[in-house]
Each structure stands twice: as structure tokens, then as C-alpha cells.
């Protein structure tokens, strides 16, 4: 091949390889769920954050994966993500609407509420300090943030008929559910705090911790605290 032909082939090959690499890097490796930013909506040192848990989801290519959704503070639409941002030194009032049925905790110690203001969570308005997931059908997921010592077992519908008639679309707007509310203070220094559900609800995976449990955007996420 002549020098010109070799040079052109080489150039084309290099451009093609670089394009593939950039595509794989940005589309697969650097992709992140969207972050819901609650910082502009804080007032009087407080901000409200609302999430829901769904037994299935109809918005991704994994329809049988349970998932959290976060309500966008501006549009009030439910966004499929678990990443959110809040300001520092602020009281975060969290409401979680749990539409899923019960699954037991692998380790019942996580049925204890910790890290909240008052040391309790409010299940449908009533204060609760712990839930025993082995004594009955009463816990569906948890909201556990080890970096701040927060653990919230999310109560579930308790009867057979409710558990057999769970919400089938997502984001859920109706169906059997329990509402859990709690509050905590974010620290003064910024940082990224990861959170997870600690109930192994990844059906179809050994030990139940695969699938949605091991994928951010479903049952695991991060809370970014913007330093003031």
C-alpha cells in the first residue's frame, strides 16, 4: 500500500477506535441516575423529600425489579432515581410511601429505628421505634444510611388480600401502601452519603442481594450534602 493509503487507513482506524472508547466510557461507565436537587427548595432550615417504593417498575427494561422513586420538588412528578441533593445543616423531613408487600429482614437488628430526630419513625402518623419483621408480615424495605447512622424500616401492608393486590404499574399512585415519615439533620460539612435498602429483595438472585439491590437507581443511592 502506498504511504497515503496507509496513513488514511491508520487515521480512520484511530478515529473509529477512539469513538468506540468514548461511547463506551460516557454511555456505560460514566452514566449516572439523575440527581434530584432539593437545595433551592429549603426554607426555615427545613426541606421536604418524598420517595416511594414500588414492587415492580414499568419505566425501565427490568420490569420485575423493585425500585425507589423520588418526587421531583418542582414538577411533583415521580422520577426513577435514588440520587438526591440537600443543603447542609438542614432538617430533612422525609416521607416514604411504601407500595410493596412484605419481605423479611435477613438480620432483624435492622428493624430498629435509629438516627432520626426523636428516635422514632411515624407509620401512618403513629410513632414507632422498631418493627419485628419475623413476627409477622409488616416490613417491606429499609432506608439505611450508615454514614449518618440512620436506619428506617419501612412498614408494609399486612394482610393477605393487600399483599396479593399490589400496585402493578409505576410510579404508583394507588394501591395498598403504608406511609412512613421521619426527620434528620444533615451535617455542616459536605459529602456524599450512600444509602441502601438492607432487606434482600432482589428476587432471582442468590441471597437476594443482586439485581435491584446492587444497582444504583433502584434500591441503592446517594445523598449529596452541599456544603454551605
Amino acid at each position: 500500500m502506498s504511504v497515503a493509503a496507509r496513513a488514511t487507513t491508520l487515521l480512520v482506524a484511530v478515529v473509529a477506535v477512539v469513538a468506540v472508547l468514548l461511547f463506551i466510557t460516557f454511555h456505560f461507565l460514566l452514566a449516572q441516575p439523575p440527581t434530584e436537587n432539593f437545595t433551592p427548595y429549603a426554607s426555615n432550615g427545613q426541606v421536604d423529600v418524598t420517595l416511594q417504593t414500588d414492587p415492580q417498575n414499568t419505566v425501565t427494561n427490568k420490569p420485575d425489579w423493585v425500585s425507589y422513586f423520588i418526587q421531583d420538588p418542582a414538577t411533583k412528578a415521580w422520577v426513577h432515581t435514588t440520587f438526591f441533593e440537600v443543603p447542609a445543616s438542614t432538617r430533612i423531613n422525609v416521607t416514604i410511601i411504601g407500595y410493596d408487600g412484605c419481605t423479611l429482614l435477613r438480620n432483624p437488628v435492622w428493624g430498629q429505628v435509629t438516627g432520626t430526630i426523636g428516635g422514632v419513625e411515624y407509620v401512618n402518623g403513629k410513632p414507632v421505634k422498631q418493627l419485628n419483621s419475623w413476627a409477622g408480615c409488616n416490613v417491606q424495605h429499609t432506608f439505611t444510611m450508615p454514614g449518618l447512622g440512620i436506619n428506617i424500616p419501612i412498614a408494609s401492608p399486612t394482610t393477605l388480600s393487600e399483599n396479593n393486590n399490589l400496585c402493578g404499574t409505576s410510579p404508583c399512585t394507588s394501591g395498598p401502601h403504608m406511609t412512613v415519615q421521619f426527620s434528620f439533620m444533615t451535617p455542616a460539612h459536605g459529602g456524599i452519603f450512600r444509602w441502601q435498602c438492607i432487606i434482600p429483595c432482589g428476587g432471582g438472585y442468590l441471597d437476594g442481594n443482586g439485581g435491584p439491590m446492587s444497582t444504583e437507581g433502584y434500591m441503592s443511592g446517594q445523598m449529596e450534602v452541599a456544603a454551605s
Binding site: C102, L104, R106, N132, L160, P200, M213
Partner: protein
């Protein structure tokens, strides 16, 4: 330099190298032992950490002369035995030197056997030096007052149970100073590894297996606990902080926690050295009564470990 000198004018390379090496080693070894030695990680906060630091220093005493020797020789060779520009001739046809080769083999063998024996003695006399010994440990502390702490690893957080105080479970690791501690490390799902850095303890947490490690804390302070076996998504975030307090402070903390956490402890399975999460007898009755068998109420049974 050397290429044109006659054999009897050639400097005694062997003597030069040997003396330079002895000089450097004799100065670097004590420098390391006294200046760096006491600061070598993981420090001296516990008996096992101290053992590890001592072993590291002894190994360094041997490693430093070895490294100096080889690098010195290379530097010397590149200085004195470089071919000059335009010199295309060959070097002397030396195929080997039986004395040098045998000496080298004998010295390296002796050093290595010493190190192996030394390591074994350290394991023997220091209760396993903080390494996990499995369910049947052979190097145990010679004491009747051992504090037993169970370390439970699960995806992705550590919890600790104190069987001698009613079996309460907590995410806070508080340990007494001066008392031998027995860590019973196990896992509820995949393989984790309990690494208490300042205590010099590392024991893998395997599901269904009890891995025992011993240490005795000798100083007060904070302990960093990290998972050191890749266990999934949040392996990098699976860390915790514990602390070593005085024996009396520990006793009061433990008794207090036993009382405060009593309602939680009632929820937990009885203390055991391993836990099989697929075997929950108390749940069985509830589920059968309710008629629930799959996600939306269920447990993992041994017929199908992938479907709750």
C-alpha cells in the same frame, strides 16, 4: 576504566563491593530499626498489631541489605563495566563460579528457613497474631477471662453481638483494654473480611462458617473497621469506627446497652456461631397462617435459594 588495565593492576572489585555493601547495610539497618521501626503500621495498639510490627521490622533488617546489595552491584556494574564507545570486543568467557553459586544458595536457604521459623514462632506465641484461624483455632490466649465479640458481616454493613451480655447486637464496636478478645467472624451472605486496622486483626467472614481471631488491646483509641474482601456494590463504603476504652468504661457501656437494647434483642435469633438465614422457624407459622409464599411476603427456602 578497567578495559585496558592488565590483570594485576585491575582493582579488586569483589573487595570493593563487599566493603561498600557492609558499610551501607550496617548503617541503614540500625537507622531503619530505631527511626522507622516504632512507627511501622499498624502500630502497637494491640498485641497482634505489635507482633505484626515486630515481624515487619525483622523482615526489613534482612530485606534492606538484600536490596542495597543488588542495587549497589548494578550501579557498580553500570559504572565500571560499561563498554566504551567504539569498543566492539567481547568480555571474558566466565561460565560460572562454583564457590559463589554454592555460597549464594546456602545463604539464601539459611535466611529463608530462619524467616519461616521466626514467623511460625510468632504465630505460636502471639495467639495467631490477629489472623482468622477458622472455627477450630489452635493458638489461643491462655486466659479464663476472654471477651467474646461476634462480628456479623452482611451486604453492606457490620454489626457486632456480645453473647456474654445477653447477645445484644449493635453497630458500635466498643472494646476493653487489657482483656483478651475473641472475635467470632461470620457472614450472612457473601464473603466479607473483618479488618480492624489498629488492632491488627483480619479475619474473612464466610457464610455458614465461624472464623475466630484473637487479640488484646493495649492502648486506648479509635479503631477503623474496613471490609477487605470485595463483597459487591458498597464494599468500598463498608467501613465503621470502633473504640477501645478502659475496662470499667466498657463494662458499664455493655451493661447499659444490654438493658437499652433488650426489646431489640428479643427480636433477634438466639446467639449462634453461624446463622442460616433460610431457616427461620418462627416465621414459618406466620406465613403459613397468612398464606403468603412469594415476594410480597416470604423467605428463602432451601429448594430455591433465588426466589423469596
Amino acid at each position: 576504566m578497567t578495559a585496558e588495565t592488565a590483570p594485576d593492576q585491575e582493582p579488586n572489585h569483589g573487595a570493593r563491593l563487599l566493603s561498600m555493601w557492609l558499610l551501607l547495610s550496617a548503617s541503614c539497618d540500625p537507622l531503619f530499626w530505631f527511626l522507622a521501626g516504632p512507627h511501622i503500621p499498624p502500630g502497637r495498639m494491640s498485641s497482634s498489631a505489635a507482633t505484626q510490627q515486630t515481624d515487619f521490622n525483622v523482615l526489613a533488617m534482612i530485606a534492606i541489605p538484600v536490596v542495597i546489595g543488588v542495587l549497589l552491584y548494578f550501579g557498580y556494574a553500570l559504572t565500571y563495566w560499561r563498554a566504551k564507545d567504539g569498543d566492539d570486543t567481547d568480555g571474558p568467557p566466565i561460565h560460572g563460579n562454583a564457590k559463589i553459586q554454592v555460597t549464594w544458595m546456602a545463604v539464601t536457604t539459611a535466611l529463608v528457613l530462619f524467616l519461616a521459623a521466626f514467623g511460625t514462632v510468632e504465630l505460636w506465641t502471639q495467639q495467631g497474631a490477629g489472623a482468622g484461624e477458622g472455627p477450630s483455632p489452635i493458638w489461643k490466649p491462655d486466659s479464663s477471662n476472654i471477651l467474646e465479640v461476634q462480628v456479623i458481616g452482611q451486604q453492606w454493613a457490620w454489626t457486632f453481638r456480645y453473647p456474654q451480655f445477653g447477645g445484644f447486637e449493635t453497630t458500635a464496636l466498643v472494646l476493653p483494654e487489657g482483656q483478651p478478645i475473641q472475635f467470632d467472624v461470620t457472614s450472612l451472605d457473601v464473603i466479607h473480611s473483618f479488618w480492624a486496622y489498629q488492632l491488627g486483626v483480619k479475619a474473612d467472614a464466610n457464610p455458614g462458617v465461624n472464623n475466630v481471631a484473637y487479640t488484646t488491646a493495649k492502648q486506648l483509641g479509635q479503631v477503623t473497621v474496613r471490609c477487605s474482601e470485595l463483597c459487591g456494590l458498597w464494599h468500598g463504603a463498608m467501613y465503621d469506627y470502633g473504640k477501645v476504652v478502659t475496662a470499667t468504661a466498657f463494662q458499664s457501656w455493655a451493661r447499659q446497652s444490654e438493658v437499652q437494647l433488650a426489646s431489640i434483642t428479643r427480636m433477634l435469633p438466639p446467639f449462634a456461631l453461624t446463622y442460616d438465614p433460610t431457616n427461620v422457624p418462627v416465621l414459618n407459622e406466620v406465613l403459613i397462617k397468612l398464606g403468603l409464599t412469594s415476594a410480597g411476603g416470604g423467605y428463602y427456602n432451601s429448594n430455591d435459594l433465588e426466589q423469596p
